[in-house]
């Protein structure tokens, strides 16, 4: 079951205006994604660690989320040095390794961890509903916002439906194996899930029509930009400028 475990909390970051958090996380990600210099990347990583600490989230859970991406990063460290062109700079036993490949893998690791941590500290600390309304206020097209919100709303219903179906086949003695019967059963299960999802979409739309839906969504939420938000907006903008400045002015160290 999906849960918004990080959304509950009382830290200053939880209380910041969602719009500020969304905007900063987005700009930060873009800036870091295009940066190449290690000082910038390390500074970005430090900033993200500070934000995670400020958010007061349980560090063990944060680490758990970071594991996923770092398993992928380990793969990069294994693959990139030996596949990167131009040809090898040094030899590791019989395997030719390239310095460039190694640096690239290191850059990707720094970037991905920093970006993920900023998102954990700033975005995961709000509920999906808040995120949706924040995006709405930032003039994100309504259709995309409602696609997000409604998809999130019905993921749970679909999951329940999936659980029901899979329990139903298990209580009738189904044991998955490597055979045609298993593949066919799973195909039926997912097919049925798809058909039911379609039928449900139709019914949801009908119920919306019955309540006067004319294709337009309205938002009842109002956010207020407090003085704390303004101060934080200043700080965060400053860090962005500093990071950008580091990237522009400092020649790459390597």
């Amino acid at each position: 079951m999906l849960s918004e475990a990080f959304a509950q909390g009382k830290s200053i970051l939880h209380r910041l205006d969602p719009r500020l958090r969304i905007v900063f996380a987005t700009l930060f990600s873009f800036l870091l994604a295009v940066s190449m210099g290690f000082p910038t990347l390390l500074a970005g990583l430090t900033l993200s660690v500070i934000l995670v600490l400020t958010s007061g989230l349980p560090l063990k859970d944060v680490a758990k989320r970071l594991t996923t991406i770092n398993i992928f990063n380990i793969l990069l460290f294994l693959v990139l040095p030996i596949t990167f062109a131009p040809p090898p700079a040094f030899l590791l036993g019989p395997v030719a390794c390239s310095r460039e490949g190694l640096l690239l893998a290191a850059r990707i690791t720094l970037k991905s961890n920093a970006i993920l941590m900023v998102f954990i500290a700033l975005i995961a600390t709000m509920s999906i509903a808040t995120l949706g309304h924040g995006l709405n206020r930032l003039r994100m097209p309504r259709k995309i916002v409602y696609l997000l919100l409604i998809a999130y709303r019905y993921v749970f219903v679909l999951e329940q439906e999936y659980q029901r179906l899979s329990t139903a086949i298990r209580v009738r003695g189904f044991v998955p194996g490597t055979n045609l019967h298993t593949y066919k059963t799973y195909a039926y299960l997912f097919g049925m899930l798809l058909v039911r999802a379609l039928a449900r979409a139709e019914r949801v739309y009908q119920s919306m029509l019955c309540r006067g839906f004319k294709g337009k969504f309205y938002c009842i939420h109002q956010f207020s930009f407090s003085s704390t938000d303004r101060i934080w907006a200043g700080y965060l903008l400053l860090t962005l400028i500093l990071l950008g400045g580091m990237e522009w002015l400092m020649p790459t160290l390597f």
Binding site: R153, R203, V204, Q206, S207, M208, G212, K214, I220, Q222
Partner: protein, 231 residues
């Protein structure tokens, strides 16, 4: 104009069939008067839900005429206006509650009617309060229990102040206490309604008349008091 007319809903010679299935409704005639509380009962597949969908304009009849509040329905534009006066509570509350939070779902209909967000929120709060659902405003709809979902979906429809309420099997899968709450809500209403149900006991306590459907027609009409004596 509607006030002068004692008949709220009038169906004449309605025929309807789903593609690939035989006739569901067969020259059906149906009439709902002012202050009438009608129970609709009948075997599965006899056309009860189809009848509701026709009334809301979600399905189009093959033949026959539908008059709602004195106006003959010709197409989507007519139904769009009629839907403001007709409230429909779906059988499955998950179909009805699509917003992330309760207050947004209750306000949805009001916003569609052109109310301002502030007004819509205020009216929605009042509605929740009157159904003893205060404090539910910011609850997440998918985390509600089955009974709470049903009551909230009732609120989403009632808040629009319809003149007629249609309920499709409102008690299916609910515990006794929630059913009692729904019975109380229905008995406190001062509008006409049609409720589909398989439970005679529930219908006897909430309706004035009971119609039994069979083979796409209304086969039998009687007063609910007949069942009240038995139960």
């Amino acid at each position: 104009m509607a006030d002068a007319d004692p008949i709220l809903i009038d169906l004449k010679d309605i025929c309807f069939s789903y593609p690939g299935r035989g006739r569901v409704l067969n020259n059906l005639n149906f009439c709902l008067g002012k202050e009438q509380r009608l129970g609709l009962i009948g075997p599965n597949g006899c056309g009860k839900s189809t009848l509701m969908h026709l009334l809301m304009g979600l399905n189009k009849p093959e033949s026959g005429t539908i008059r709602i509040l004195g106006k003959t329905m010709h197409g989507e534009t007519d139904f769009r206006k009629a839907r403001r006066q007709l409230g429909f509570v779906f059988q499955n509350a998950d179909d009805q509650l699509f917003s992330p939070t309760v207050i947004e779902d209750v306000a949805f209909g009001l916003l569609n009617m052109g109310k301002s967000p502030q007004e819509a929120v205020a009216l929605s709060r009042k509605m929740l309060e009157s159904l003893n659902l205060s404090g539910f405003e910011n609850r997440i709809t998918y985390q509600l229990s089955g009974g709470e979902k049903k009551l909230v979906s009732l609120a989403t429809v009632l808040v629009m102040e319809p003149q007629v309420l249609l309920l499709d099997e409102p008690t299916t899968g609910l515990d006794e206490r929630t059913v009692e709450r729904i019975i109380r809500v229905l008995n406190d209403l001062d509008i006409a309604y049609v409720v589909v149900s398989h439970e005679f006991d529930f219908l006897a306590r909430t309706t004035t008349d009971i119609y039994a459907m069979k083979n796409g027609q209304i086969e039998y009409r009687c007063g609910s008091d007949q069942f009240r004596a038995a139960s």
